[in-house]
Amino acid sequence: MNHIEFIPRKLKEKFPSVDFEASDYKGELTIKFDKKFIVDVCRFLQSDSELEFKLCPDITAIDWAVRKNRFTVVYNIFSLKNNFRLRLKCDVDESDCSINSVVSVWQSANWQERETFDMYGINFKNHPDLRRMYMPEEFEYHPLRKDFPLMGIPDSMPLPKK
């Protein structure tokens, strides 16, 4: 069974109204679709008996630094049953910088989404505990955005007095 062809076809059958863009680069399948459907698609991929993407190793985002659709949220999921890795992508615009949380599908998404929120400032709706993962709570910026300088903003984090 060729998963690279099979999975997009199966998704099309299940969600006829959603526009799926499948691409294959060096044997890695990437499927891109609208962010509105992320929870439904993920739940289907996780629970379908033929696919069983039970493991969600990683969630991250990419900042393209362009005006329209600035961010892309990337979900890296793995099926232990088929031994197959799949990448899901959803564009997020800066004006509506939010996407639905998939914690209800995979518990491991909890910290991964918190990390993405911390680094990019993307709001994950319905997340049970959305706060910063790494940076102090008082920190105002999101470091991995392309407009944040590598050396940071001076005096944005206090040091103890000598």
Partner: protein
């Protein structure tokens, strides 16, 4: 050898109180292993059978700052970690010394990034900067010997009523017992 060489038949020893206190201090430096990242592993290696920090009287690594007089800051200090390091330093009793172990601790090292403090001397008084990323255990032992030299030159009277954090101690040239 050690003290025995100075004790003649009668069993008496004449010395200055300052000297004997400094000698006792420098021979039993108790480190506070402030292990933060990679350097902490090399600090552990300094305690293992191969390098054996016990030869220098410093194997008693105390994880409570109240019992220590030497803080080895081993690893990258981030802005989030800095208040913690400072708090632990403040909890240590006087007199106290600090080794900045490794390049990150001394100067930020290879981490020129938004979250790393570029050198802990911005918020701590440092006695020894130790080069290496991470320094080999031999290097840490060398730093320890250096700090023992420094402690050996101090006078007990210098540590009366020092306000916390003030380390402006002039080092007198005092002829102390050489222990080896």
């Amino acid at each position: 050898m050690g003290l025995e060489a100075y004790i003649k038949d009668s069993g008496f020893l004449t010395t200055q109180l300052n000297a004997i206190i400094a000698w006792a201090r420098k021979s039993s430096v108790w480190p506070m292993p402030m292990g933060i990242s990679c350097c902490a592993i090399e600090m552990m290696a300094a305690g293992d059978p191969k390098y054996d920090i016990a030869r220098f009287g410093s194997e008693v690594m105390r994880f409570t700052p109240r019992q220590c007089d030497l803080m080895i800051v081993a690893g990258t200090v981030t802005y989030k970690m800095a208040p913690v390091v400072r708090k632990i330093y403040d909890q240590m009793p006087e007199p106290k010394w600090v080794i900045a172990m490794g390049a990150c601790t001394s100067s930020g090292g290879m981490y020129r990034s938004y979250s790393v403090v570029q050198g802990i001397d911005q918020f701590l008084p440092v006695d020894i900067y130790l080069a290496g990323c991470p320094p080999r255990p031999e290097n840490l032992l060398y730093a320890l010997m250096k700090i023992q030299d420094k402690i050996g030159k101090t006078k007990a009277s210098q540590f009366h009523n020092i306000p916390a954090g003030d380390q402006s101690i002039s080092l007198p040239e005092l002829n102390v017992i050489r222990n080896n």
